[in-house]
């Protein structure tokens, strides 16, 4: 049996090779998801960890246990002992190696006196005396001597001190400190002699959780001496703190052990929260928890994007194995007539399938690795950048996915055999002569059903769009049903297209029935009359093309919208603000934390409501504090094409007097403020409060001062966001120095009309009058709503107001206040960095849109999405190519006799080829066109919803579905090349065909 199967496979090596390709792809795609997410997890963990080191200057693998025991309090001593034991235990339980452990004990600060060498005055200090375990191996002496491990003959104890400590405590080597309150066990007061000054022996030694420079009020003595004389946890005699640090190796964190790490760590955390006097902190827990939420989102997104590709590959395998069976059905029928049982036939195919699937598994795993590297370097759709290679590895989940793929593939290969194994030679002949039957899905209208279901899905998702947005903003991943619905849409439309295409072809055929030349006439009849045979290749083409287009559009849209959002919220390519003065302390601007009172008193309420009037004075700034640096210097930087001075402050206010037209909206704001303090007020009360404060309402606004020409040339703004080109708005306010552009909510929320006068208070407290020349929904950097998430997880949206004024007008009122420099940069922003470094310009802020975009592209979700969509697209093309070729080769091989007849009837070779081209066109072209339309329709319908998964919390810009014309062209080029290759192969096949042989073949 086995030999028979092998022989059979060798005989059909080409088509078997195609089947193998399908299998390899299937396993490759199935496995690359878990492999990629594992690897990307590694990468993001590593990045998070190293970022943490940069930001916090602390090793994130650190676990800190802080315990304190009190003199005479045995429980506290026991707690400290317990903390120590638990720490040791934890090092076993957390599945990471310990890179470093540090035990630091010290007598808490005690007063000491010193006889200053240079005078007789007794200086008094407060110092801690402690020891660090294993210190001698991690330090070097700057000067002096190391402490001895025993008490000196004169009763003093040697100690060393850090350089900074020495300076800060104004101490000298050899100085003796006397701690009167600390007695040695023998009753004498503790006397410490400073013998040396230490520093860390190497700069990046993990041992120095707290660097030597933090030891400013602590002196270190020998461990032995400390332990022998002070450290007794059973009977504590001193107030001693113990700080125990364990540094776990964060490089060993894997997707596979995160759960165990967190679980183990949490159990200790819980243990210690119940212990008084002990503080436990594992720096990595919150990092890993955030990471897991994020990665979960990535996994589910990728899975959902991957499913249609998997289904397509499985369909491909199904199609190819059906083609094989189509060729072999004669053999099957003959074997059966000779007495082979259905079971034997099934087994022979099962062996064949298993062999192929097994080979697919073996070859698919390396493919998965390659695909993962492709994912990892995907920068946008079909574009790649050099990134650090992902470290890939096999894991159980990868093997499991691979196994599932193998089973799926075997099913796809064996399933059609059931159909064929039933045939005996008689049935086969009868079947051969069977007339065209409608396929089952047409008879039961499955296509329309699928479309209806998908549209219903679209409808119901669209209705809950806001809810969806909110839940995604809170960290949920998008409902996979949405993606499923889009796949259903594509399949449903594809099947309907299969009904439509023959009708169209029939129409064209009828139009010129009498006139078609013989070759085209034959192509028409072939395509129209042997429809079932073509259905699968047509469906396959439609689905692959549609999915390809959908993928392309999806990737482009996601990237484009993210890039636009970044450019829009940043304002320009580079936005920087120089530090105008050395002395300004930015801490003054920090807002005080709002206190939350369940029920506010009337006074508090009044104060809160008074805030709405701006009656309570805020700190204002003055231009006198600043000197303006030369803004022109930036214009000369290489690549910087335009610069603009943009003054932005959020410390401006607009005082709105309450009148009939805006009363309702404004009172609502009072109501909100009151209810945020837990008070519900009636309308009358609200009005009373409002009147009490002068009948005005003070709205905080963002005030932007621009110089219109510069701004227009420099800022990033997308056309189509405003009803007319935004230059018109700029021109409008450039004509009048008091002209303002204000956000639309001035109209909707505050009741202003076009042309109204508006008085705003600037950051310096100046009152400036202006006139509204235009309302804008969008303006560079302006977000109409900002979502803030409280600590308890509830998110709140606040309306944002903006006033855009002429910079000159503002400077006339306020003087010249620090403004931002916006730059438009052609090409790399590196020269800007170089310039700033060279000139040693001190910056308050610096935003580089390119860098932000790169950051965005490095986000595992975006990166993975780009990767999977690109890989999906490429695989679709490969499948198209292979599927197409195989279909035609088999179709031609099985029609040898027919070609013989055509040739004998006098058709020339050229005409035969024209006939085949005709067939190809009639099958491929409509399928291609339908595929494109279905793909475009699916993208346009579903992208606005799918985009939600990628959008940032605040929808800065309205979504636009990106055009993917270039990709469609790419796809068509590939398809045309394919048809070309196909024709070449077919031409070669046909020219090999001798008429006489063809006819002879027919005689068999």
């Amino acid at each position: 049996m086995f030999d028979f199967v092998i022989q059979k496979m060798l005989n059909r090596k080409w088509i078997v090779l195609c089947l193998l390709i399908g299998n390899v792809l299937l396993v490759g795609i199935a496995c690359c998801n878990p492999m990629y997410t594992n690897a990307i997890q590694q990468r993001t963990i590593r990045r998070t960890m190293s970022q943490y080191v940069v930001d916090e200057n602390t090793y994130p693998g650190t676990v800190i246990l802080d315990a304190q025991m009190e003199s005479g309090d045995e429980t506290s001593g026991a707690h400290m002992q317990d903390a120590l034991d638990q720490m040791k235990q934890m090092q076993q339980d957390v599945p990471l190696d310990v890179r470093q452990e540090v035990y630091h004990y010290y007598l808490t600060k005690n007063k000491c006196t010193t006889a200053n060498k240079y005078g007789d005055s007794q200086a008094e200090k407060e110092l801690a005396v402690g020891f660090l375990e294993d210190l001698p191996n991690h330090m070097s002496l700057v000067t002096g001597e190391m402490y001895k491990d025993s008490i000196n003959a004169d009763g003093t104890i040697d100690a060393i001190i850090s350089q900074k400590g020495l300076v800060k405590q104004k101490m000298l080597l050899g100085e003796v400190l006397t701690f009167d309150t600390v007695k040695l066990p023998d009753g004498r007061p503790l006397k410490v002699k400073i013998t040396g000054v230490f520093e860390n022996s190497s700069a990046d030694d993990l041992y120095w959780v707290n660097s030597p420079s933090t030891f400013t009020s602590e002196i270190l003595i020998s461990e032995t001496v400390f332990r022998e004389n002070f450290l007794d946890m059973e009977h504590p005699a001193y107030q001693i703190r113990g700080a125990f640090y364990t540094m776990f190796d964060t490089d060993q964190i894997r997707s596979g052990n995160i759960d165990r790490i967190l679980e183990a760590t949490r159990s200790y955390q819980n243990h210690f929260t119940q212990q008084s006097g002990v503080v436990f902190r594992a720096l990595y827990t919150s990092l890993l928890e955030e990471h897991q939420v994020k990665i979960h989102k990535v996994i589910s997104t990728l899975q959902v994007l991957q499913v249609p590709i998997l289904v397509l590959v499985a369909a491909f395998i199904f199609m190819v194995s059906r083609q094989i069976l189509e060729i072999e059905k004669n053999d099957i029928a003959i074997i059966k007539s000779r007495g082979a049982s259905k079971k034997q036939i099934l087994i022979s195919y099962l062996i064949q399938s298993s062999l192929l699937a097994g080979a697919g598994f073996v070859l698919g795993l390396p493919l998965a690795m390659i695909l993962c590297q492709v994912f990892g370097s995907a920068n946008a759709f079909l574009s790649f950048v050099q990134r650090q290679a992902l470290s890939l590895g096999l894991s159980w989940s990868v093997l499991l996915y691979g196994l599932a793929a193998v089973l799926l593939s075997i099913a796809a290969m064996v399933l059609p055999v059931f159909q064929y194994a039933k045939l005996t030679i008689v049935e086969h002949k009868r079947r051969k002569s069977g007339k065209y039957d409608k396929p089952w899905w047409q008879r039961f209208y499955v296509d329309f059903l699928l479309l209806l279901v998908s549209l219903y899905g679209l409808y119901s998702f669209s209705r809950q769009k806001d809810m969806l947005t909110q839940s995604v903003a809170q960290g949920a991943s998008l409902d996979p049903l949405l993606f499923f619905s889009s796949s259903l849409f594509i399949i449903g439309c594809g099947l309907i297209a299969l009904r439509v295409i023959p009708l169209i072809l029939h129409g064209i055929y009828w139009l010129g029935k009498k006139k078609w030349n013989p070759a085209i006439y034959a192509s028409f009849l072939r395509v129209l009359r042997t429809r079932t045979k073509q259905y699968f290749i047509m469906a396959f083409l439609i689905l692959t093309i549609a999915l390809g287009i959908f993928n392309a559009k999806a990737a482009r849209t996601i990237n484009q919208n993210e890039e636009d959002r970044i450019a829009y919220t940043n304002g320009a390519d580079v936005v920087l603000q120089e530090r105008w003065t050395e002395t300004l302390d930015s801490g003054a601007g920090e807002e005080a934390e709002e206190t939350e009172a369940p029920e506010a008193t009337d006074n508090e309420l009044q104060a809160a409501l008074a805030q709405l009037q701006g009656t309570n004075e805020e700190e204002t700034i003055s231009a006198d504090d600043y000197t303006e640096p030369d803004p022109a210097k930036y214009a000369g930087i290489e690549g910087v094409t335009n610069t603009a001075r943009v003054y932005v402050t959020d410390k401006a206010r607009v005082s709105v007097s309450i009148n009939e037209s805006n009363q309702e909206q404004l009172l609502n704001k009072y109501r909100e403020q009151a209810s945020s303090l837990g008070r519900e007020l009636s309308d009358e009360d609200l009005l009373r409060y409002a009147r009490q404060f002068g009948g005005t309402y003070s709205q905080p606004v963002t005030l932007m001062g621009i110089s219109t020409k510069e701004f227009g040339e420099t800022a990033w703004f997308k056309s189509g966001l405003l009803p007319v080109h935004w230059y018109n708005y700029l021109n409008a306010i450039s004509q009048n120095s008091s002209a303002l552009l204000v956000s639309s909510n001035f109209h909707n929320g505050l009741g202003y009309e076009l042309g109204d006068e508006i008085t705003y208070t600037t950051a310096t407290g100046e009152q400036v009058r202006g006139w509204i020349f235009g309302f804008v929904d969008y303006w560079p950097t302006y977000l109409s709503q900002v979502t803030t998430t409280d600590e308890d997880g509830t998110s709140r949206q606040t309306d944002q107001y903006i006033i855009v004024a002429n910079l000159s007008r503002l400077q006339a009122a306020d003087g010249v206040l620090p403004y931002q420099i916006w730059m438009k940069v052609d090409g790399s922003t590196q020269p800007v960095y170089d310039f700033i470094g060279e000139k040693q310009i001190k910056l308050e802020s610096f935003v580089d849109t390119n860098a932000d975009v790169i950051d965005m592209k490095n986000d595992p979700q975006i990166q993975g999405t780009n990767g999977i969509l690109t890989v999906g697209f490429v695989i679709v093309l490969i499948l198209c190519a292979v599927g197409f070729l195989i279909y035609w080769i088999i179709s031609i091989q099985s029609r040898t006799l027919q070609f013989g007849i055509f040739r004998a009837m006098g058709m020339s070779m050229k005409e035969i080829i024209v006939m085949l081209i005709g067939e190809q066109l009639f099958i491929t072209l409509p399928a291609l066109i339908m595929g494109v339309f279905i793909g475009l329709a699916a993208a346009n319908l579903y992208m606005p919803l799918i985009q939600i998964a990628y959008a940032a919390t605040d929808h800065a810009l309205p979504l636009s579905v990106a055009a993917a014309l270039g990709d469609i062209v790419k796809m068509f080029v590939v398809v045309v090349i394919l048809i070309g290759i196909c024709m070449a192969v077919l031409g070669w096949l046909i020219s090999k065909l001798k008429i006489t042989q063809a006819l002879k073949l027919g005689e068999d």
Partner: protein, 226 residues
């Protein structure tokens, strides 16, 4: 008597993998008279089908020449040979050789399309199908017809474009004897009505009497001529 085809010293050799060439035809000389039924007789492997393929412009001889209606076949290129076949020749094959996706009517009409038939195609197709007794089965697909019926459609198709010569390779081989006889009768009628030349191969001894001229082949050589 006019000869429409003259075969001069034709040999056809097929290369064989082991090195020796196999001669299917060895120095054949013969004439096919116009407007008559010529029969090639011989066992399978005698070379009769090869000979017929060569004089029907489907194959080229390795040596010698064939003059078909004044044209030297060996000098024709692909394109010219195809044109000759679709205008002047009709083929009927041993096994049923209809185009499966076309109805009986369309099969016949297709040869008219290929030959660029000038007249009323519909009338001609119907005429031909009537001639072979299938006027009532014109709209059937080949698979819905019996073997004899299919063969008759093939004959109708072969004669539709009024070729000068019809080549029939074992047209009766897969038919029962009475149907076979019917086919030959149709051939005789065609010769009588339209003056067509028919060349037919067969191994059926019972049909020899119908032939105006009979060549008997064995091992690539003519062993008798009558």
């Amino acid at each position: 008597m006019n000869n429409i085809i003259e075969v001069k010293d034709v040999s056809r050799c097929f290369p064989v993998p082991d090195g020796d060439d196999f001669y299917a035809l060895k120095h054949i000389n013969m004439e096919i008279p116009q407007g008559k039924l010529t029969i090639f007789r011989g066992r399978s492997g005698s070379g009769k089908t090869t000979l017929m393929n060569i004089i029907g412009a489907l194959d080229q001889p390795t040596e010698g020449s064939v003059v078909f209606d004044g044209e030297e076949l060996t000098k024709l290129d692909e394109e010219q040979a195809s044109r000759l076949r679709r205008t002047k020749i009709g083929f009927v094959f041993q096994s049923v050789a209809l185009i499966p996706m076309m109805t009986a009517y369309e099969n016949v009409e297709y040869s008219l399309r290929l030959a660029d038939y000038e007249g009323d195609r519909k009338a001609r197709v119907e005429e031909c199908l009537k001639m072979v007794g299938l006027a009532d089965r014109m709209q059937h697909m080949p698979e819905e017809l019996s073997g004899g019926e299919q063969q008759r459609v093939a004959i109708a198709r072969a004669i539709a474009h009024k070729p000068g010569v019809i080549f029939a390779d074992e047209p009766t081989a897969e038919l029962d004897s009475s149907t076979g006889l019917q086919v030959v009768k149709i051939f005789k009628d065609l010769i009588g009505q339209d003056g067509i030349t028919i060349v037919m191969t067969t191994h059926d001894v019972g049909l020899m009497d119908f032939g105006d001229k009979v060549y008997e082949l064995e091992d690539g050589e003519i062993i008798s001529e009558r």
